[in-house]
């Protein structure tokens, strides 16, 4: 390599075909997997492609996907967030308690919950950046803390772990359609969360590929020290990402609350791993610096389709987790292989 000069490069370079370039995109693996899952259940079960079937798996994909996309951004930025699942419960419970117990205006309560979620996200980010501890440990702490607070504080205030009487709150009907409404689209009953999901995918993709902060997300995940040296605001970028995952948790919290008119202390617990799995299946590198929002969304679609497909196929729904685990391992192996190729073969 030492005697390489510019004119030699072209001669040694093999033309990169369009197909190879496409294969190097982070979301390709998940797109292929999603297609396989889609075709399989479409053929194997009769309900999967029905109007009702499509609506069901779209809706369930969207509730996972909103947070999965935010978690993917954070993972591209080189960090983890395990507290996203409980954040769904925390924000839902907060609105529930503030309105049903304290009689706070529901619009105000929704905004208060958003501010609180963003604040918790910011605390996560600042703790990770200032202590230098792995985000895995910091957010594992937040995860358990929130899980405990969700149940204990709710019980202490309203004497039970589930919110009741949401529908009686003034103005409930005014805000319910925004988060929990649904509409009919080509015969299928589609929830508002699907629109939010599409919006989140669009915003995240735009942010990642077309804006300065998006450039910084890739940079802080790929090489934090180098990013700092060239003047990327590393702290702000990372804290912003943690706030984004918390904000996504809040959004799904609102969707859950206004869809079912109740949440309880266990809402969202356990989902944090599913978000991470979706991001990894979607092509995000665990080490950061590589991935896509669309990939994570496809990961969420795989999850949603499999979850409903297994029901339609009359299989034991416990197979879902076994399937997810195997998908995750497969995805990590494929990602590693793709990354190695992307780094050397040009």
């Amino acid at each position: 390599m030492s005697t390489t000069t510019a004119p030699d490069v072209d001669e040694r370079m093999v033309a990169t075909s369009r197909a190879t370039k496409t294969l190097r995109r982070p979301e390709v693996g998940s797109a292929i997997a999603a297609l396989i899952v889609f075709v399989f259940f479409s053929v194997y079960t009769s309900e999967f492609l029905s109007d009702q079937g499509v609506g069901t798996w779209l809706n369930s994909s969207s509730r996972i996907g909103i947070v999965a996309v935010a978690v993917a951004l954070l993972m591209i930025g080189g960090e983890f967030d395990l507290s996203t699942g409980t954040m769904v419960g925390t924000s839902g419970l907060m609105v529930g308690v503030l309105t049903t117990h304290y009689g706070l205006n529901i619009f105000v309560a929704v905004v208060v919950a958003l501010v609180a979620a963003l604040a918790i996200g910011a605390v996560n980010g600042i703790l990770v950046m200032k202590t230098g501890l792995p985000s895995f440990i910091v957010t594992l702490g937040t995860f358990f803390a929130l899980q405990g607070v969700n149940v204990a504080l709710t019980k202490a205030i309203i004497g039970q772990v589930a919110i009741q009487g949401m529908k009686l709150v003034p103005s409930y009907d005014a805000i319910q359609p925004i988060f929990g409404g649904s509409f009919t689209f080509v015969g299928a009953s589609v929830d508002m969360s699907v629109l939010w999901f599409i919006g989140v995918i669009g915003a995240a993709t735009w942010l990642l590929l077309r804006t300065r902060p998006g450039n910084w997300v890739f940079a802080v995940g790929g090489a934090q020290q180098s990013s700092r040296q060239v003047g990327v605001p590393v702290l702000a970028t990372k804290v912003g990402l943690f706030m984004a995952t918390a904000g996504a948790g809040w959004l799904v919290g609102m969707v859950t609350l206004f869809k079912s008119s109740t949440v309880n202390g266990a809402t969202g617990v356990g989902d944090e791993f599913i978000f991470i799995i979706c991001a990894v299946v979607g092509g995000c590198l665990l080490t950061g610096g590589f991935g896509s929002a669309i990939g994570a969304a496809l990961g969420a679609m795989i999850y949603g389709m499999t979850q409903q497909g297994i029901v339609y196929a009359n299989w034991d729904s416990d197979w879902l987790k076994a399937f997810l685990g195997i998908m995750l391992l497969g995805a990590v192996l494929v990602n590693n292989w793709v990354r190695k190729r992307a780094e050397v073969s040009r």
Binding site: T4, A6, D10, T211, G214, W216, A219, S227
Partner: protein, 316 residues
């Protein structure tokens, strides 16, 4: 270098001539992103002057009583072996570490630099050995990282990708690197090419004083030559260049001023007229020690062997 890539008003043999920075701004609109540093002073004006500067980390004195200057349109070479204090000196200049003794004057004003950002704002840019690049990101994103060009306002403020790709390509072409695809991850470039991208980036973003940390250390002869050429270009453009190296043969052809470090102390600060290459080499390698070595190697090769054998016998 193929000439069809050097568009944007570049002469066909873009290697020889580097356009002045201003010309480049014109051909693509508002591309002033990172150029907030003060303008270049006339040639020969000191940009950075350090006087008796030093740094200690607790009990360890890493650098003591170092004096030199960096002038516009000149190359100041900092020479020293491993552990001589070069890294500490760079870190002080770059703003990464604050000096604990002496005076650090930029444009006639005494400064205590608290962060690399502060140094950058004064037009002091550092190209580290690790080059501060993100391997998985495309070349053009790396080139503009931290100072991205944008278009539009408010929510539709977005990266000006076309302009960034074009500028990256033409800036690199001007350095003699013709990349077919600025979209490839920078990790796939050769060491010399990455070095040139990093230098081109610093120059493009309005560095007035450019600190290069051993840019030729990991390179072969030809690539070193390319890097030296670009150092000369940066100098001709009126920048003050600090060229850190342990190779006097790389330093002497491009240097105007030589500061030698050994064990954290300055062994002197010389203008080119005050020192010859031979003297520089001799000082670098420990003067008398080298002469003795050279004598042994040239005249009586076998005696060196005998000596070392005798030494071994004596010490055991």
């Amino acid at each position: 270098m193929s000439t069809d890539e050097t568009r944007a008003g570049q002469p066909a043999s873009g290697q020889e001539d580097v356009e002045p920075a201003d010309a480049r701004v014109d051909d693509s609109g508002a591309e002033d992103a990172g150029r907030s540093a003060p303008a270049l002073p006339p040639r020969g004006t000191p940009i950075i002057e350090v006087t008796g500067i030093g740094k200690s980390y607790g009990q360890v004195i890493a650098l003591h009583d170092v004096t030199t200057s960096v002038r516009a349109g000149e190359v100041t070479c900092v020479l020293g072996d491993n552990g001589a204090g070069k890294s500490t000196f760079i870190k002080i200049l770059a703003g990464a570490h604050e000096h604990s003794e002496g005076k650090f004057v930029v444009d006639g004003t005494s400064r205590n630099m608290s962060s690399p950002r502060a140094a950058l704002a004064l037009g002091i840019a550092t190209v580290y050995q690790d080059l501060a690049v993100v391997p998985l990101m495309p070349v053009w994103r790396n080139f503009f990282l931290g100072s991205e060009l944008t278009r539009g306002l408010g929510p539709i403020k977005r990266l000006d990708i076309a302009a960034m790709k074009r500028i990256t390509k033409s800036e690199l072409a001007a350095m003699g690197i013709d990349l077919r695809d600025v979209d490839q991850p920078i990790g796939t470039l050769s060491g010399g090419e990455r070095q040139c991208v990093a230098i081109a980036r610093a120059v493009y973003f309005g560095a007035r004083a450019l600190i290069l940390d051993e840019p030729t250390a990991a390179l072969g002869v030809r690539q070193s030559g390319i890097v030296l050429k670009y150092i000369a270009k940066a100098r001709d453009r009126g920048l003050g260049v600090v060229f850190i190296t342990h190779n006097p043969h790389h330093a002497y052809p491009v240097g105007d001023r030589f500061m030698l470090l050994r064990r954290g102390r300055s062994m002197g600060d010389f203008a080119k007229s005050e020192i010859t290459l031979d003297e520089l080499v001799r000082m670098m390698s420990g003067g008398a020690e080298l002469e003795a070595l050279a004598h042994e190697l040239q005249d009586e090769p076998e005696s060196a062997l005998t000596k070392s054998l005798r030494e071994e016998v004596e010490t055991s």
